[in-house]
C-alpha cells in the first residue's frame, strides 16, 4: 500500500522520501536523533526506553522519556532559532502513536514505522487513521547539544 493511500494529505501537501525502508529504528528513535534502535515503552522490555521513564504507553511516559534528552513542552510548532522541536501524535484514545522531528528548514521529518523516512509538513500526517493527530510539541535548546543541529539538518 502506498504512503499516500495511508496518509491522503501527503498528496496535497507534498513530501519527499529520504531513506530506504528499514526496521532498525522507528519514529520515536528518529525523533530522538537515533537510527540504530527501536524505541517503545513496551512492558515486555523488548524495545529500548530511557531509564527513569515509565514503560507505559501514555503521554506522560513519552514526556518523561524526552525530558531525559532535555525536551520540554512548548506551545508552538513554528521554528525557533536555537531550539529543536518534536511532535507527539496520539490516537483517539489519547495513546501515543508517532513522533516527528522539526528540521532546521522548518519542515518535519518522520520515520514511518518500518517504512521509509520522509520530509513532510506537520499536518500531512495529522488526522490519518494510522497516527491520529498531533497532541504536543516539545522543544529543547540546541546550545546544550551543539552536534545535534548538523544531524537534524
Amino acid at each position: 500500500m502506498s504512503l499516500e493511500a495511508s496518509f491522503p494529505r501527503l498528496r496535497e501537501t507534498g513530501y519527499r522520501i529520504t531513506s530506504p525502508a528499514t526496521n532498525d529504528y522507528n519514529c520515536i528513535a528518529w525523533a530522538a536523533g537515533e537510527s540504530d534502535r527501536w524505541w517503545w515503552p513496551d512492558p515486555s522490555g523488548i524495545s529500548y526506553w530511557p531509564d527513569g521513564a515509565p514503560r507505559r504507553e501514555t503521554l506522560e511516559a513519552f514526556l518523561a522519556a524526552f525530558s531525559t534528552l532535555g525536551f520540554e513542552l512548548c506551545s508552538s510548532e513554528l521554528p525557533e532559532a536555537g531550539f529543536e522541536k518534536v511532535a507527539i501524535y496520539v490516537n483517539a484514545q489519547g495513546e501515543p502513536t508517532h513522533m516527528a522531528r522539526q528540521l532546521s528548514s522548518g519542515g518535519w521529518t518522520s520515520k514511518l514505522g518500518k517504512s521509509e523516512d520522509i520530509e513532510h509538513q506537520l499536518d500531512s500526517l495529522d488526522g490519518s487513521h494510522v497516527y491520529g493527530s498531533v497532541a504536543y510539541i516539545l522543544r529543547k535548546s540546541l546550545s546544550t547539544h551543539p552536534l545535534r543541529e548538523s544531524r537534524s539538518s
Binding site: M1, S6, A21, N23, D24, N26, C27, I28, A29, D36, R37, W38, W39, W40, D42, P43, S44, G45, I46, S47, Y48, W49, E57, T97, H98, M99, K111, L112, G113, K114, S115, V130
Partner: protein, 151 residues
C-alpha cells in the same frame, strides 16, 4: 435427512458428476451405513473445498507473516505489533514454529523477539542491546544454535 443442494458445497469440478439422489438420504431404502458414508463424503469434500483446512504448518505460518507485515508496516508501537492477531496466532501455534521463526529472523530480521520469548520462556538479549535489531537477532540465533535448534 436431506443434504443441501450439492452446488453449494460440492467442488465445481464434481457438480454434475454425482447425481443429487446420491446425497438424498431420505430416499426410500437408504440405511444408516449410507448416511454415514454420505456424511464422510461431505466432510472430505468440504476439506477439499476450503483450503485453510489443508494448510501445512509452514503455509499457515507464511500466511500469518504476510498478514502481520502488511498490517503493521507503519506502526511504531512494538506492543501493537505483538498484540496483532496474526502475531498472536503464530505464538498460539506453539513450539513447533520456533525453527520457522528462527529461519524468518535470519532471512528477514524483524520483531520476532516477543514471540520467541513467549515460546521459550527465556530472553538471551543483553539489556544494553534492547531495541537493536541486529544485536537481538544475533543473540537469539546464537542461543538457538547452542540449544541445538536447526532451521
Amino acid at each position: 435427512m436431506r443434504f443441501a443442494e450439492t452446488s453449494t458445497w460440492l467442488p465445481t469440478s464434481l457438480v454434475g458428476v454425482y447425481p443429487p439422489s446420491l446425497f438424498d438420504t431420505e430416499s426410500e431404502g437408504v440405511g444408516d451405513d449410507a448416511i454415514t458414508l454420505a456424511r464422510r463424503f461431505i466432510d472430505a469434500t468440504k476439506h477439499y473445498r476450503f483450503p485453510i483446512t489443508r494448510q501445512t504448518t509452514v503455509e499457515k505460518f507464511q500466511s500469518l507473516i504476510s498478514e502481520w507485515k502488511n498490517d503493521t508496516h507503519l506502526m511504531s508501537s512494538s506492543t501493537s505489533m505483538i498484540l496483532h492477531k496474526a502475531y498472536q496466532q503464530i505464538i498460539g501455534m506453539g513450539p513447533t514454529v520456533i525453527p520457522l521463526i528462527l529461519r524468518e529472523l535470519q532471512n528477514s530480521p524483524d520483531h520476532w523477539f516477543a514471540a520467541l520469548k513467549a515460546l521459550t520462556g527465556i530472553d538471551p538479549v543483553a539489556p544494553s542491546d534492547r531495541g537493536k535489531l541486529g544485536a537481538m537477532t544475533n543473540a537469539w540465533l546464537e542461543w538457538a544454535r547452542r540449544q541445538g535448534y536447526s532451521w
